[in-house]
Structures are given as C-alpha cells and as structure tokens.
Amino acid sequence: MPPERMATIQERVTRSFTNEGISFTLYDEDEATERIIPIDAIPRIVPQSEWLTIETGLKQRVSALNRFLHDVYHDARIIKDGVIPVDIIKSCPQYRLEMHRVTVPNDVYVGICGSDIVRTNDGYRVLEDNLRVPSGVSYMIANRRAVKSNMPRIFRQNEVMEVEHYGRNLFETLRELTWTQTSEPSIALLTPGLFNAAFYEHVFLAHEIGAALVEGQDLVVNDGFVYMRTTTGLKKVDVIYRRVDDDFIDPLAFRRDSVLGVPGLLHAFKLGNVALVNAPGTGVADDKSVYVYVPEMIRYYLSEEPILQNVDTYLCRRPEDLEYTLDNLDKLVVKTVGGSGGYGMLIGPQATQEERSKYAQEIRDDPANFIAQPLMQLSRSPCWIEGALRPRCVDLRPFILQGAETRIVSGAFCRVALPEGSYVVNSSQGGGGKDVWVVRD
C-alpha cells in the first residue's frame, strides 16, 4: 500500500474516533480531561493457531480462578493443603470476609475477565488477570469498526474472525448469572458516573446489552430486593454488571463514605435476590502476590498443566526475593500488589539512580506490598507514526466471559506504547490501541 494511502486511512480512522467521541478520562491534580484514545490503523495480526492456544489457555485459567475463589471463601482447601500461604490471602486487602460462605450463581465469581498477555521469545505469557472491573472491550470493538470501515477490501480478503458479537455474548453471560436465569432479565450497569475514566465504555456496553446505565443514586434496596428508579416507578433489578470497585458498592458493608454505591446491596446479593457481576471479593485473585500461584491453582483444581505461563515474578515478601529485587533494581519492573493502570510502578532500567533509591526504601518499608518482574522484551508491532512505519511495544487484552459456558470472541484490545522506547501500554499513561485480526493460518 502506498504511504499516501496509508496516511489517508490513518487520518480517517483517527477522525472517526474524534467525531464519535471515543474517549477516556485523564486526571491530573486539578481536573479531569476527556481524551480521545489514540488508535493506530494498522491491525495486529494473530494467526488462528496461536489464538487457539491463547483461548484454550485463558479458559483454563478463568476456570481455575473461579474454583480458587469458591474455595478461598468456603473450605480453603488450597491453603490447608499448603499450596498457597495463608498470610498472602489474609494480608490481601481485596479478600472480603463478608463473602465467607456466600453462594453465587453457577459458582461463578468472575463472569468477566480481561487478561493481559505479552508475546515473548518463549511464546505468549500472562502478565496479569484483571478480575475486578476490567475495561477496554469497547475500544476493541470501536477499533474493529473504524479499521474495518476504512480497509474493507483488505479486511474481506483476510477472513478476519468477528468480535462484534461480544455484546450478545455478554448479555447471555449476564443472563446465565442471574439467580432465576430468566430469558429477559432486568439488567443494570452500575457506573461511578460521568467522571470515571472508562465512562465511555460504560455507556457503550449499556447500549450493547440493553441495560439501564445506573449510578448508585438510581438504585434502592427495599425488603431485600434491588430496584431502579424509572419514569414509571421502581423496577426490580435481576443482575447488576457493576463497574464500581468493591470498596464503594455498598456503604453499609464496605467504605462508609462511599457515595457511589447502594446501601444494602450486599445484603440483597447474599439473599440471592440480585446477582452481582463480578461478585464482590474477586480482587483477592488478581492481587499480584496471588497471581504467582495461578499455575499452581491450575494444577491443584484442574489436574492439568498450565497452557499459558506466567511472567517470572519475585515476591518481595519472601526474604530471598526481596534481596534479589533490591540487588537488581536496575533490571526489574517493580509494582505494588494491588496496583493497576500503570500507576505507582518502577521501570528499573529506565529510572534514575535517585528514583531507584527512593523506591528501594519504599520496598524495604513494606516488602509485602511489592512484586518484581524482569523487564519483558514485549513484542513490537508496526505502527503508522509521523508518516512512516515504526515499531512499538504492544500487549493483548482478550476478554473472557464465564456464565454457564465460557465465551471468548476471537480478538482483543491491543494496547500500544506509543512514545518511542516506552514499555507502558496503559491508556492512562499515553498508550493507544489497535485492532487485532485473528486470521486463518
């Protein structure tokens, strides 16, 4: 394709995002700014054979994570059998005592999972599993629509696997996760509101699944049932796809100062009168300390070998790992165990000596709060930047839906570290996105 043609396509794709207001919100100290998410028009190609490995591996992983969550909130066999140290679970702020012995529909705690995958010289590896309120799926679909409409012939010629039925799959999953599994459930998508970074996605998904987009103030708990305030009165809600963290969903059960949640929601959930997806307490399984044990969970619960490997990880709570981390800070990426969005991490090789020293002190002060990983040589993908093809680091975030069955559309949100030399792909840190084409080999 001639460069002029490619430039035109890139310009059109970017303009379509701007015109349609496909945005996320960035925060600095003073204000929130609505930003259009940058999109690169050149799709990332994944051969179908590689995709099948990813898909099978992710299904295996989510199955094990759900088994783990059920176990950890019931008999805790995995702890009793010494597979995972009890102190890791006990010290995890996302472990919710309120969920002890609480039954959830189909024993599914994680209905929606977004796992971050990187391609290395040793194949695909899972960097982390986002099990609380994973975001990015709207950008996956928006990327697809923008690129497909601007490269229709190439798209057709390559027999690219579809992703746009994600909404249908999500609806089915939510339906399967209601207590009654009614054919026409009343669904509410609970958003923190307009100023949330992912508000565009909340609106997008509510539209895709025909859900009411509610804030905490729109819901009321009465006699153990949850209702939403409509223009014809109070309407009972069967399932809530919540995009609000555990801490804020119910001021009676969790943070008392939360104005985003619904008083009494956890009580209604425990009574089995409303389903919450994902269930409260799932964060214990995406804590970065617990992540280390996911391969062991797969062996323990499924008696299988993990199909997708983890990235090597050092738990600073272990004295030998702490020592290694502090000695090799210039070679490692260090993160807080509960962190997300690329905030609060140290990329050792790119940090100054002063930054490393300051961070080292933070690690020494609270070792259990940190993990370290080698700086992954992320695979690079060609991107159209300033009129030329340039390599940029990328990762993949596929979305796994777990209801009565497991569903994964053949595609993902591909995050791109757009600044030259950057390894940080998070949208909040200047990252962008590109479409992923899963094509026949």
Binding site: N19, E20, H207, V214, R229, T230, T231, G233, L234
Partner: protein, 327 residues
C-alpha cells in the same frame, strides 16, 4: 426508562433550545451593529440580559447600562464574548451547548448514533473557538451555523430516534425551555420600565424580535408590512400556527405530558397536567380580552416555571415511598 436518563434527555432538549434561542437573539444583535443607532443597540443588550436575569460583565444593572457612540463597538465585543464564549456565564452559548453535550454523554445509550455524532461534531467545532476567531469576518455567521447545527440535531432526532419516553422527554424539555425563555423576553419587552429609545419608536425592538423568531413573513401575511407592537405581541403569544409562539409551545407541551405514562408521583403528574391545561386556557381564552398584557405574561411565566417543577417532581425526583413497584 431510568428516571435520570429521562432527566438528561429533558435537559439536553432544554439546553439545546436555549442555545438556539440565544443564537437567534445574538445573531440579530450582531447584525444590528452594522447600521443601527446606539440607542437601539443598548436596548438590544438590555433585553437579552434582563430576560435571562443576568448582570452584564460591567456589573451594571441591565436597566442602567448605556453606550456612548465611541464605546459601542468595544462594549459590544465584551458583551458578545460574555454571552457567547464565557464558560463562567451559565447562560453563554458555549456553556449551554457544553451542558447539552454533557447530558447527551450521560444518555448516549438512549439516543441514536446519528444524534450523538451530530452533537459531538458541533461541539468539536465550537469547543476551542474564541470571539477573536469569529469577530474579524462575519460574526453573525457563527450564530447562523450554530442554529443550523441545533436544527440538524433535532432533524436527526426526528428521523432516527425511537418514539419512546426518551423522545417525549427530549421534546418536553425543548418546549418548556422555549416557553420560559420566550415568555420572559416578551414580558420584559412589554414592561413599562424599559426605557424607550430616544426617537420614541418601538419599531426596532419588535422588528428585530420578529426577525429573530423568523416570524416576519407570518406577520406580513396576517397584519401587513407596518409593524405594530400590539399585533406583533399578539402573534408571538397566541398564534397556534407559528412555531415560535407561546401557544405553539404550550400546545406541544400539553401533548407531550399527555403522551407520558402515569408518573411515579401521580399527584405531581396530575398537577403538571393541570398546569399545562391552565396555560392553554389562559392563552386561548383570557389573553385576547386582557388589558394588562404585561401582567398576564408574568403569570404565564410563573405557571411555566411551576410546570417544570411538577414535571421534575412527578417523573425525576419523586420519593421512593410514593412510587409503585414492578417485579
């Protein structure tokens, strides 16, 4: 429909109508800068600020501010900027349009993609504009374009929006805003407290208003080419066939309220119906015989305000214990 989404659609309609209304007034006002005397310009600014119940940036009361021949253009620049681009002025066109978009963002799943794109494109066009960008050439074209954008949005809505409650609340917001702004303007214009221009003529004020409301043609058809204040006011209030008249807005408002399902707060819903009926009857039966038109306009304005309050109580802000439950 979720009550808050309905409220967002209602306010989206209100803010867009407000944007259009202000654009129409400012377009005429800016056009008048070309060749109208300072006294008429002063009156025009006075009219705009007073009916919005706002104070001009100078801090003078709307009744008191005046221009000199030397300063008129400079002052016009300041006032135009305040009413067009000033973010801290809640009645500036920029603020109104930005508010309509914020409401649209929150109810984006309830409107069509065409409606959203149309609104967002307009927003992107005016988002970073400044008065200096538009002042050099033909500033009135900015207002013409924005009115066209608002009309395009409602045109998109009429061909692409499902006729559910969302449609009703969007239209209800539009007609209530239409009613409130225009009745305030007509009331201000009919009050004796407004100083007459030095030449004693009220021609400009009514001619400019008829132009702003695209009602000059209709006026000519009904009354001929000489503009008479009483006839102009009569037409702008009671002519049911004129889309910019109060009667037209009242009739549409009444139709919308009757189209809605029973309100969760049935008592307030009934009150809203009574108020809209009362407004209709006031304009249809009492307006022609009244001797104190200014007072009646104030009465219509008060009723319109109470009608808004009842709508909000009935459908948006009702008490949970008053509402019925659906399983």
């Amino acid at each position: 429909m979720l009550a808050r989404s309905a409220e967002c659609l209602y306010w989206m309609g209100r803010y867009l109508e407000r944007t259009e209304h202000l654009c129409q007034l400012l377009g005429v006002q800016i056009g008048a800068l070309i060749d109208r005397p300072v006294s008429e310009l002063t009156f025009g600014w006075h009219r705009i600020y007073k009916h919005l119940q706002e104070t001009p940036p100078s801090g003078e009361k709307a009744e008191e501010f005046s221009f000199s021949e030397d300063e008129s253009l400079a002052d016009a620049y300041t006032l135009t900027d305040d009413l067009t681009f000033e973010p801290s002025n809640k009645y500036s066109i920029w603020s109104c349009f930005a508010q309509s978009r914020e409401n649209a963002r929150q109810a984006r799943h309830c409107i069509s993609e065409d409606m959203w794109s149309s609104l967002n494109l307009s927003y992107l066009r005016i988002r970073d504009a400044t008065l200096s960008d538009i002042w050099q050439d033909e500033p009135e074209l900015f207002y013409v374009d924005l009115v066209r954008d608002v009309n395009t949005f409602f045109g998109m809505a009429s061909v692409s929006m499902y006729r559910d409650e969302g449609w009703d609340f969007l239209q209800l917001g539009k007609t209530i805003e239409h009613l409130q702004l225009r009745v305030n303007l007509l009331a201000i214009q009919s009050q004796d407290s407004i100083p007459l221009p030095p030449d004693g003529s009220r021609d400009f004020e009514w001619t400019s208003l008829l132009n702003a409301y695209r009602a000059s043609g209709a006026y000519q058809q009904n009354y001929g080419i000489d503009v008479n204040a009483n006839d102009a006011l009569d037409m702008l209030v009671s002519n049911a066939d004129l889309p910019n008249s109060l009667m037209y807005a009242i009739t549409r408002t009444d139709e919308r309220i009757r189209d809605l399902d029973t309100a969760p707060d049935a008592k307030s819903g009934d009150s809203a119906l009574r108020f809209s009926g009362r407004l209709k009857s006031l304009v249809a039966h009492e307006w022609p015989d009244t001797e104190d038109r200014a007072r009646m306009l104030v009465m219509i304005g008060n009723l319109a305000e109470r009608l808004h309050d009842q709508i909000a109580e009935a459908w948006f802000n009702y008490r949970n214990e008053n509402a019925s439950r659906q399983f």
